[in-house]
């Protein structure tokens, strides 16, 4: 521990602490500009200078990088320190008058106006080098640096061209205290829509809202540490030492009596329908993006805004995007009608926009759904019956200029209409989840024609698969809404519990048996059995089938040259009789 005096106050700090840390502990405020706690001190702005009496010398030292030492007498606001600090701030103010943190410090120090000539009143860069150091120390990319010297010094990429070393992490902009660095949006989508994108936003996040457990994780794909080996800022700032970059993925094997598959769905990718312009035109968003937009904790705080930050005057909701369409999915996704109606209602609540709802058929089959539809009819939503053919920005009239034009055949009017809106919401349908096929292979589950998992029987066994002990729940089995999913999941759980409750497994009665009197011990069957249920008893000179392992496929029976193997209920004689029987009639 080190004892020193800060403004006459005794403080004790850890060995290796800086004067700045000691001053903070003593409650003395020392302004800083080029300092950031997770980046090595740079001591360039010289705003944090304090007067230090130590070993008979009286010096002005930068507190951000000078180590506190036993017996130092520090005065953070001595006349000499203040004069130097003011002058440095005043000079910086002439360079970067638009830098907000600098102006605040200037105000604090009582500087109203700089006496030095101001070159650019909009300049924000104070040359603190945080961006350069973040890129080097945090990111490890070294994509930017200072170039030129003296007053010409500025931050730049090599030769001022696009830097190949830049990994686009935006750490420079993040660490810039004055907002002098902005990130260029290269994808034509504006900031709020960028945030609506549901993909990875930060490397550390909770997987989804309302995730269980509610614990953040590090996304290796997005984490800078796993790209460059540097950074680890999260570990530096975590007081609980909870961040561990060395953790590896582990594969856990769990023995289970039964499995419930509830692998869910993904939404239809609206880019697959080019005519709807998603990803090409701004202000065309999918239902999920709209959900984020209206969410009170979303990017706009729940306000429905266009890319330019204005409120839309007309909004179109397009039903059946990807559903009920032979080109994409023939099935009805079952939920889109109802959530579209909800959107229309929310839009009416939050905006003054005219709301158009383009539907093919209104499918309001659930409890209270039809009533909700009627409520919206009364609320004034304009329902247009017909499939939208395209969304375009090609204006034919002056009124359409700058709008999205929805072309649709109104089947009630029997006419093709062009409806200009500011925002279009695509009610995308459901598709099996990304790893659906892999799951089907793993669990040997058949799929129905719509590619969702096939249940054992649509009426009698709607939650079972063809394999014993494997049950289906939710949208992996077919599109359904939340109440249906909850009901099916409950049923699947009950089925699984029933198996567990029984405490024993009932064997199929169709297993194969080897008649040891006939068996010659050729062992052809042993190699054929996919379940390794057959063992050859060397001592006894014949093979034997384990009833518990045998699934009753009968492959061994068909292959047995001596007719020693037979399958219960599918004996050769029985099948011969069946064949004969057929020809009796």
């Amino acid at each position: 521990m080190v004892n020193l005096t800060i403004d006459g106050k005794q403080v004790e700090v850890d060995e290796g602490s800086t004067i700045l840390q000691a001053a903070k502990k003593a409650g003395a405020r020392v302004p800083t500009l080029c300092f950031h706690p997770v980046i090595e001190p740079y001591a360039a702005c010289r705003v944090c200078v304090v007067e230090v009496a130590f070993r008979g010398k009286n010096d002005l030292l930068t507190s951000c990088n000078t180590k506190a030492e036993e017996g130092m007498d520090v005065r953070t606001a001595s006349e000499r320190a203040l004069r130097a600090r003011r002058l440095n701030v005043e000079m910086l103010l002439a360079r970067a008058p638009a830098a907000e943190p600098l102006r605040e410090i200037a105000k604090e120090l009582g500087i109203e106006k700089t006496r030095f000539p101001v070159k650019d009143p909009d300049e924000k860069c104070i040359l603190c080098g945080l961006c350069v150091r973040a890129c080097e120390q945090i990111v490890g990319a070294c994509a930017i640096s200072f170039i030129e010297r003296g007053t010409d010094r500025h931050v730049s990429t090599p030769f001022g061209e696009e830097s190949e070393a830049c990994i686009g992490c935006t750490a420079c902009a993040h660490f810039c205290p004055t907002g002098a660095i902005t990130v260029e949006d290269k994808y034509g989508r504006k900031v709020i829509h960028d945030e609506m994108y549901l993909g990875p936003t930060t490397a550390i996040r909770v997987p989804t809202r309302q995730a269980v457990p509610m614990v953040p994780f590090i996304d290796k794909e997005a984490c800078i540490h796993f790209k460059t080996g540097e950074c680890k800022v999260c570990a530096k700032v975590c007081d609980r030492d909870a961040v561990n970059h060395e953790m590896e993925d582990t594969i856990q094997e769990i023995e289970a009596g039964s499995i419930i598959i509830a692998s869910g769905f993904k939404t239809f990718d609206a880019r697959r329908i080019p005519a709807y312009g998603y990803g090409r035109f701004p202000n065309i968003i999918t239902a999920m993006e709209f959900e984020r937009l209206v969410n009170a904790s979303g990017p706009t705080g729940g306000k429905v805004l266009l890319a330019n930050g204005e409120e839309p005057k007309a909004v179109g909701i397009i039903h059946c995007v990807g559903s009920r369409d032979e080109n994409y999915h023939a099935y009805c996704s079952r939920v889109c009608c109802m959530y579209s109606l909800k959107f229309a209602h929310l839009l009416g609540e939050k905006t003054k926009a005219t709301i158009y709802d383009f539907y093919i058929d209104m499918r309001c089959f659930g409890k209270g759904y039809e009533e909700f539809y009627h409520r919206l009819l009364k609320e004034g939503t304009k329902f247009v019956r017909g499939r939208v053919s395209e969304i375009t920005t090609l204006a034919l009239t002056e009124k359409e200029e700058g709008k999205l034009i929805i072309r649709v055949e109104d089947t009630l009017l029997g006419a093709v209409r062009r409806i200009a809106v500011d925002m279009a919401i695509l009610a995308v349908g459901m598709e099996p989840s990304i790893d659906h096929n892999r799951l089907a292979k793993t669990f040997n589950i058949s799929c129905s024609q719509d590619t969702f998992f096939l249940e054992r029987h649509p009426k009698l066994a709607p939650v079972s698969s063809f394999s014993d002990g494997i049950f289906l729940a939710g949208t992996c089995q077919g599109p359904k809404d939340i109440p249906d999913t909850v009901a099916q999941a409950g049923a699947a759980a009950a089925e699984a519990l029933a198996l567990a409750d029984l405490g024993k497994v009932e064997l199929e009665p169709i297993t194969a048996v080897i008649d040891d009197k006939l068996c010659s011990g050729c062992q052809i069957c042993v190699g054929l059995c996919p379940f390794t249920a057959i063992t050859y008893k060397k001592d006894e000179g014949h093979s034997e089938i384990n009833d518990a392992l045998c699934k009753g496929c009968g492959t061994c029976v068909a292959a047995c040259p001596s007719g020693a193997s037979y399958q219960k209920h599918f004996r050769d004689e029985q099948i011969f009789a069946e064949i004969e029987g057929i020809f009796l009639i």
Binding site: K551, G552, T555, A558, Q567, D572, I582
Partner: protein
């Protein structure tokens, strides 16, 4: 023996998990297909002993269909591959006996492919109708015809 009134008799060995369910689906979906096929359910196409096919032909079948899960989809992992191997060999043997190999057919029909089952049955029936009766056991065909009449 009147070619025009010939109604082939076909026997289908269908696996319990895919094709039999597929056939069931065709039924529940009330799809109409040729009534010439008689189905024998086995747990797996791997159970289909070559004897069954021979027996079927001997008893008077004009064609035999074996139908199971698509490759890789077998409920018993690989029974359908075994059936495929046996089908190849048996076809050669049948040719030696003078039975056209077209009369012995292997098809993959999954549980969801009701339409495919319908299509396979119709196609197979028409194909055998084109080939004419096998006549291993002549009366049976006539008997059938008489019954039809």
């Amino acid at each position: 023996m009147n070619q025009e009134h010939f109604e082939p008799r076909l026997i289908g060995f269908l696996c319990n998990w895919c094709s039999y369910t597929g056939a069931d689906l065709a039924g529940t979906a009330r799809m109409v297909y040729a009534p010439n096929i008689r189905i024998i359910r086995v747990m797996c196409t791997g159970r289909v002993d070559p004897q069954f096919v021979l027996k079927a032909f001997r008893e008077g079948a004009d064609g035999v269909l074996i139908s199971g899960c698509h490759p890789g989809d077998c409920h018993y992992q690989e029974g359908n591959y075994k059936a495929m191997r046996r089908h190849k060999l048996l076809s050669k043997v049948l040719e030696q006996f003078g039975i056209e190999k077209e009369r012995f057919r292997l098809e993959w029909v999954s549980a969801s492919e009701g339409t495919k089952f319908q299509q396979v049955c119709n196609e197979f029936t028409e194909q055998i109708r084109g080939l004419g009766p096998l006549n291993l056991n002549g009366n049976k065909g006539e008997h059938h015809e008489q019954r039809q009449a």
